[in-house]
Symmetry: C2
Subunit: 201 residues, 2 copies
């Protein structure tokens, strides 16, 4: 009975997103999504567990990109360099999908439950990132702290990228957020070092 359904997954995703934006997430049913995509509900459930999963399909891929990049980083790199580069790498993979990312963010921000789920995905990314650092031998609390820092930097870079009319380049925005985090977290370390030196020379 199974028909050949070229890119049913892609069409279901597009149909769901458009319906969420037009009518809202709560008012959209799986039957609506399947009908708009021209497939059966059964086909929907072969691809997605429920209508929420359509929007969070990419979370596993993001986690995979980040943890793989961490595993492959040079042994000599510091924890924050490893995480920073992994986030930039993940950003490069998302770069071609900005239009989808912007529409997806609009659908999510219109629904409190979806916003909570998005926050949870980022928290799970931080946990997976910390575990990947621990597998490289990074001790705690450095592993946990570097992972939280990395996800914060990804989140800020990503939100700027989807939120501004001149989006620029996602990897560059993430790298820039990393520099800003260093300036926020340790604003006086460099200047304190200078002061210490200049009072001793």
């Amino acid at each position: 009975m199974a028909r050949w359904e070229p890119d049913a997954r892609g069409r279901l995703t597009e149909a769901a997103l458009q319906l969420y934006l037009d009518r809202g997430f709560d008012a959209t049913t799986v039957a609506d999504i399947a009908a708009r995509a021209g497939v059966t509900e059964r086909t929907f459930f072969r691809h997605f567990a429920d209508k929420r999963e359509v929007l969070f399909d990419g979370a596993h891929e993001l986690e995979h990109l980040v943890t793989e990049a961490i595993a492959q980083a040079p042994a000599s790199a510091s924890a924050i360099d490893v995480v920073g580069e992994a986030m930039v790498h993940a950003g490069a993979a998302l770069q071609p999908r900005r239009e989808f990312a912007v529409r997806r963010a609009a659908a999510i921000s219109a629904n409190a439950g979806l916003m909570e789920r998005e926050l949870l995905e980022l928290a799970m990314l931080a946990r997976a990132t910390a575990d990947a650092l621990r597998r490289r031998g990074v001790p705690d609390p450095a592993a946990a702290l570097a992972a939280e820092a990395g996800v914060a930097v990804f989140k800020v870079g990503f939100e700027e990228w989807i939120g501004e009319d001149d989006p620029g380049d996602l990897p560059a925005r993430i790298a820039d957020a990393r520099r800003q985090l260093a300036a926020v977290v340790a604003p006086r370390r460099a200047s304190q070092a200078l002061r210490t030196i200049s009072s001793t020379v």
Copy 2:
């Protein structure tokens, strides 16, 4: 019909926590909790929306402690100092409740759904913290980054405090995690400044 029920809320919390630890969260019903606390189910629902909320009752209080401390910080303080002090302040308020915190953490870590909810609460704390910084005039991305840094520091200090046999002092652990975050995020800034100076003097 309402009877006088001294500290029904406290007894319900204690009964629920003990049942979650003994039988597991999923196997415990509201009826079990109410019976153990010696109150009716109706009394349970006067205090808590459902059996999960018993464990997350303190989240609003934590958020309130943090955002109030941020609002009252000196105008001249940097974003990271404001957030760091607010987290230490919240830690001081939790300090007397370590035994409860340890048992609560054990109940949560035994259940995937509760762990997700705990991650979500921390993500919501980061959001509220960023909003409190914005109300002080801290611009983005500094507000978002300082908030994420503050919550990461709170989380790491808190986990050390509940996880170790010699727990020490929660506010001191949070302050220490903040120093470690600075060392993780900007490990070379101070030494780079030193190198620049020593090559120029």
